[in-house]
Symmetry: C2
Subunit: 160 residues, 2 copies
DNA sequence: TAAATCGTTGGCGTTACACAAACCAGTTAC
DNA sequence: GTAACTGGTTTGTGTAACGCCAACGATTTA
């Protein structure tokens, strides 16, 4: 006998939509970010560093799920523009403690302000509430993947 | 006088998180999709074609916000595997009407099923309800850019 | 002293585009 | 019916943003 049609319906996967939406956003963002001397990829790091200030590069790579080497290049860009600082950890002098500078915080704020227009365009179908929900879900999904950092720590300012 | 602090708070932008999450998803998806002869990029097209069957390539490029030439390459891949069909439009024989074949639909379903594990991992911090919400928001954002397709049509099975 | 760790650099390979130019088949305008 | 336009196609060039690997210096741990 045939199985129930409703059970045959494949689950809708978000991956493809996520990809597409991200590409659109990045495409528009590039031109907006360019006068600020930033690239889309830099924003991820800056955003994370605003919340998890004083992170190790290793920890940063882990939460971003990126290769260490990639993170190094990213931070090199940001440090060259004095948007972040690398201090050596007193406890373990192999480690670099990465911190957002005031300049970096200001630049990030400026970038986010400038990106409002881009988001308005790409997310034009979403109202304010829906955009807020989307942001929360994305933040939750992004932060939750680091095992040490439970969901409870997301909304709070805990350093994880 | 200084402006109110709360007003100075920059708006949190979803772009960076979107980017990061999409990259993670794509990274894991590649290996899962490979035995199916698909690449992440193909899923977007297949997904759109399932809902907007019989679309013109031009329309497809428009909803995907991609270059025509890029779409051609994408469809070439899919057609080579008989996952889609290109028919000439009777009204305007310049146009190609793109349609998902049964094989394509089955392949897509299989892919989505296989991607469940990936989504489970990347979106592990989200429960079922939250994932559904995320999917709806993404779909809304993706479809909303095409003006003909209003928000009311999202939840329904309307072809837009 | 030896092994492991953190960051760093460099190189090689890949995906996935954008953009432009040129082309054919078919359509529309004059 | 010639000219202009349009939809799709091909090819080619360029770019962003990675991943992965290997090797290295500085430092810490066994």
């Amino acid at each position: 006998m045939a199985s129930l049609p409703v059970l045959n319906q494949p689950p809708r996967r978000s991956g493809a939509l996520l990809d597409n939406l991200a590409r659109r956003m990045r495409l528009h963002a590039e031109s907006v970010l360019e006068p600020l001397g930033l690239r889309p990829r830099h924003l991820v790091a800056l955003t994370v560093l605003r919340d998890r200030d004083g992170s190790t590069q290793q920890a940063l790579a882990s939460t971003l799920m990126m290769d260490r080497a990639t993170v190094v290049g990213l931070l090199n860009d940001l440090e060259a523009d004095a948007l972040i600082e690398r201090r050596r950890s007193p406890e373990d002098r192999r480690r670099h403690i990465v911190q957002l500078t005031d300049r970096g915080a200001r630049r990030l704020a400026k970038a986010e302000f400038a990106l409002a227009a881009v988001e308005d365009e790409v997310l034009s179908a979403l109202d304010t509430g829906q955009r807020a929900t989307l942001y929360e879900l994305l933040l939750l999904a992004a932060s939750g993947t680091a095992q040490e950092c439970g969901p409870a720590a997301i909304a709070s300012d805990s350093p994880c």
